[in-house]
């Protein structure tokens, strides 16, 4: 468990700590975050960053009448053949869950048009570790793991921005972090150093499901 002020301290410290660290598989989950406050209300800050992913499978394309019209441009041999753009952008957030008093991982994902991805498509991207959802049951708005109280992944509004997002259910991550912290013997984790350590651990726990390395 983490209090709101502890969350704020931990997040701001994390941003500073990894601003100039060289990227590596160990540091990329912790890099690139920036701290944002709500436009008018204090105490609703969150971390955010943007990562690029690729799609594993080709999604369907619109059957727009518009596509049937073709424009002619001068033939140009110096133009390389365009590779289909499989770029997907993931906007990631670490927010504070007032209910569970732990951080929660929220994200949205869109393709190069800006169109949001459906859940069935999201789980087929490089955002998730391929084995993450082996036993999961997929609906249009949530992903359930049998025998779990809560869906692993579901849709909800971003607690600060109010925009529709996906989120990983936070209630299990905190327990895992506390366990790890105990193993590490971090007695004084209420200090700033200890709090950064806590949030680092939490990110590592999340990264067992989500690919935070890009």
């Amino acid at each position: 468990m983490l209090t709101r002020p502890q969350f704020d301290i931990a997040c701001r410290a994390l941003v500073g700590k990894y601003a100039y660290t060289a990227p590596s598989p160990a540091t990329t989950p912790l890099k690139g975050w920036s701290w944002h406050e709500h436009a008018s209300i204090n105490g609703l800050g969150y971390l955010s960053r943007r990562t690029i992913h690729t799609r594993f499978s080709c999604f369907g394309t619109d059957d727009e009448e518009l596509y049937r019209e073709e424009y002619e441009e001068q033939q140009d041999e110096s133009t390389a053949t365009a590779v289909p753009d499989a770029t997907l952008v993931c906007q990631q957030y670490i927010v504070y869950s007032a209910t569970y008093q732990v951080p929660a991982f929220y994200f949205t994902m869109h393709d190069c048009n800006g169109s949001p991805l459906a859940l069935a498509d999201i789980v087929n991207t490089s955002l998730f570790r391929p084995s993450a959802f082996d036993s999961a049951e997929l609906t249009t708005f949530a992903l359930n793991i049998p025998d779990r109280m809560f869906p692993l992944l579901s849709q909800g509004d971003h607690p600060t921005l109010g925009t529709p997002s996906w989120y990983l259910h936070p209630c299990e991550s905190a327990g895992a972090v506390d366990e790890l912290m105990r193993e590490l013997g971090e007695a004084e984790w209420t200090t700033e150093e200890g709090l950064v350590r806590w949030i680092e651990m939490w990110i590592m726990v999340v990264s067992t499901v989500v690919e935070l390395c890009e």
């Binding site: 690029i52 110096s78 109280m149």
Partner: protein, 681 residues
């Protein structure tokens, strides 16, 4: 060996959703119907290689030219990126968008770039772009098309046999690379184009300068969005056009540094170097130097690989109706996952509910049904909203009472759709004829009544559950008969001052005849003509405790849901809740996944207590007995007319009149079969 043609990687565009949100805002607040050009700023970084964790192979990911919310407002460029100036032209209709003179727009943009080369000797516009858009704000769809004008070199640029090689292999030292990195990354946003100068031959120092510091023999560099090993990115084309125009004498060959490192690398610098040559070697050194603007290409291809517009569909993110639908489902499904895994929500959602009465009970029942995700709710009422209604009837407000009041049923349906646009809600103003209330002798009135009856029959036919929520007792009779005939589930709620009755009418075709459950009228010893001798809970006087209606309404809906979840549905036998009948609770026959399925509930607010009652069907009942139903089914409207016009007709038909003659006292015994009293279960 012939030189290879240099082929440039086209710029892929990337529009973040925030770009479309901002365009929407701009269109609504500023542009309105104007299609004036708007200046925007895009950005791009370097192409990257991403290691595929599964296969271990490198995947090259070209950097996109990205636009987002900030593209409209200021020049806040993401870190480690280059700024690119752009022009946006938004069209008001899809037709205008399609008919736009693309050639002209493209040439205007290319002309500006060329002018910046010729007149300003400036590189800041070399990576300019154009975007045309059409925003379908109703459907949250955005049609758009990017163009990145690039001059076609003639003769074309070729590359020496070595091709593009890592900068380290081309003679740059680690120290020089680090120095270039620091000088480039030290300035944000990044310079798109630069020159790398080595002050003296003896020195290993390098200086990164703006392009106008170019001296023959220097290496020119650019931030390269391409990740393809042998293809430089699009921005190089206009840089080469600039150099060829500005330094015509020294452009027969040129070393180019394609910069691809915006992080200090762990596995070697990714930036590459190529030695370019004008033409394929078959031309003389004094190649043609263009004075006129070269041709340009650069419309982006769409997902089909054709030159044509793209579409961004943001409805799943922005359409409030779709969002509301998702959210309603989500709340319910959460309940299902957490508490009752076997709940059949689809069955509930698909249940079409007809609410007869759009007063206090009707309003609360509708709200509660909506909470269960019921998709079809139809309301029937003959009244208009009056000034006393809004405070107790939560779907109405003061303004609905003005000018004589809006029709209640239609008004309530409209309000329901406001609460949840995904709901299929409708309202009908209809009077329900009542037994013992004669139809005035007038052909036109009689015709009107017949039409009303037909309408009611049709509505009941089209729904699965009929709620009787009227404020008079007799008006429940006709729908009771029709619904019984069609074997629909009837839910009945009636209010006293501080007591209520909620019940489900028994099914007509029940497998076990002995356990047939009664209807609202089964306990009556008189036909429902006479509402002054009100023996159940009816409302000649509609003064009730204000909290009662919502309790009764919610109870009725929850009872319906429990019945629907029972494996035998409307044929489920009634359960009681008494502690001595604990067996019922674990008796699968008498419970649904949600628990008990009682027949009738009588609520006593004064005692905060509910009583479960099982009332058997009465074979002389004026509402549900086969005598009545058969008469209705064979004679139709004329039988109903008899019932309306002749207050004794139903009693004669069922034989109740004879019974009545035998003495009221004896009949009192045909009472509720009450279960044990204590049931604060």
């Amino acid at each position: 060996m012939p030189l290879a043609l240099v082929q440039f990687t086209p710029f892929p565009s990337l529009s973040h959703p925030s770009f479309w949100h901002k365009l929407t805002q701009l269109k609504l607040d500023v542009l309105k119907l104007s299609d004036a050009q708007v200046d925007i700023t895009g950005s791009y970084g370097v192409g990257r290689l991403i290691r595929d964790r599964e296969a271990g192979a490198w995947i090259s990911v070209n950097a996109n030219l990205a636009v987002e919310e900030e593209s409209f407002t200021d020049t806040k460029i993401p870190t480690r990126s280059v700024a690119a100036r752009g022009t946006l032209k938004n069209y008001n209709t899809i037709e205008e968008f399609k008919a736009a003179d693309k050639t002209m727009l493209f040439n205007e943009c290319a002309d500006k770039i060329w002018e910046s080369i010729v007149t300003n000797k400036d590189t800041s516009l070399l990576n300019s772009f154009l975007i045309i858009t059409y925003a379908d704000l109703k459907k949250y769809k955005y049609y758009y098309w990017f163009a990145f004008p690039a001059f076609v070199a003639s003769p074309s640029w070729h590359i020496t046999e070595r091709g593009w090689v890592p900068a380290i292999q081309a003679g740059f030292s680690e120290a020089q690379m680090s120095s270039i990195y620091e000088q480039l990354l030290g300035n944000q946003p990044l310079q798109a184009f630069f020159v790398v100068l080595t002050p003296s031959d003896a020195s290993t120092e390098v200086t990164v300068s703006a392009i106008d510091a170019y001296v023959p023999g220097a290496t020119v560099g650019f931030i390269d969005p391409s990740a393809q090993l042998q293809n430089p990115g699009w921005p190089l084309r206009n840089l080469l056009a600039y150099l060829r125009y500005s330094y015509p004498d020294s452009m027969s060959s040129l070393d180019v540094l394609s910069w691809r490192d915006t992080e200090i690398p762990r596995e070697g610098w990714k930036s590459r170097v190529g030695s370019l040559v004008v033409g394929d070697g078959s031309l003389s050194k004094a190649a043609v130097v263009p004075n006129a603007r070269p041709n340009a290409v650069g419309w982006e291809k769409n997902v089909q690989g054709k030159l044509g517009p793209r579409v961004a569909d943001l409805a799943p993110m922005m359409d409030p109706t779709r969002l509301a639908n998702q959210a309603v489902d989500l709340n319910l499904k959460l309940m299902r996952w957490r508490i009752v895994p076997s709940l059949d929500l689809d069955k509930i959602a698909a249940t079409r509910c007809l609410l007869l009465g759009a007063g206090t009970l009707g309003c609360y029942v509708a709200r509660c049904l909506m909470g269960w995700g019921v998709r079809t709710i139809t309301l029937v009422d003959s009244a208009r909203v009056s000034f006393s209604n809004p405070v107790r009837q939560p779907l109405f407000q003061f303004s609905d009472c003005l000018n004589g009041g809006r029709p209640k049923a239609e008004c309530a349906a409209e309000r329901l759709r406001e609460v949840w646009p995904g709901l299929n809600a409708s309202g009908y103003t209809l009077s329900i004829p009542m037994p013992g209330h004669p139809i005035p002798v007038s052909p036109s009135l009689c015709e009107q009544v017949q039409q009303d009856v037909e309408k009611l029959e049709k509505l009941i036919e089209e729904h699965d559950v009929v709620y009787l929520l009227m404020d008079s007792r007799e008006s429940r009779w006709l729908p009771t008969v029709i619904a019984r005939s069609k074997d629909k589930l009837v839910m009945n709620a009636a209010l006293g001052f501080d007591t209520f009755l909620v019940m489900r009418h028994g099914a007509r075709h029940t497998l076990d005849d002995n356990s047939r459950l009664g209807c609202y009228y089964c306990n009556d010893i008189v036909a429902p003509a006479d509402s002054l001798t009100d023996r159940t809970l009816d409302q000649m006087c509609t003064v009730t405790r204000p909290g009662l209606a919502s309790i009764a309404a919610s109870t009725a809906v929850e009872l319906m849901v429990s019945v629907l979840q029972h494996p035998r549905s409307i044929h489920a036998s009634a359960s009681s809740s008494s502690s001595s009948n604990y067996a019922d609770i674990i008796d699968v026959e008498k419970t649904s996944v949600l628990g008990l399925v009682p027949h009738q509930l009588r609520g006593y607010l004064a005692q905060f207590r509910n009583l479960h009652i099982v009332g058997a069907a009465y074979d002389k009942c004026t509402g549900c007995s086969e005598i009545v139903i058969n008469a209705y089914e064979t004679e139709g409207f004329s039988m109903l007319l008899n019932a309306f016009n002749d207050s004794k007709y139903l009693e004669r038909l069922t034989g109740l009149d004879n019974l009545f003659a035998e003495g009221e006292k004896a009949l009192r015994d045909v009472e509720w079969i009450e279960e044990e009293e204590d049931n604060d279960f």
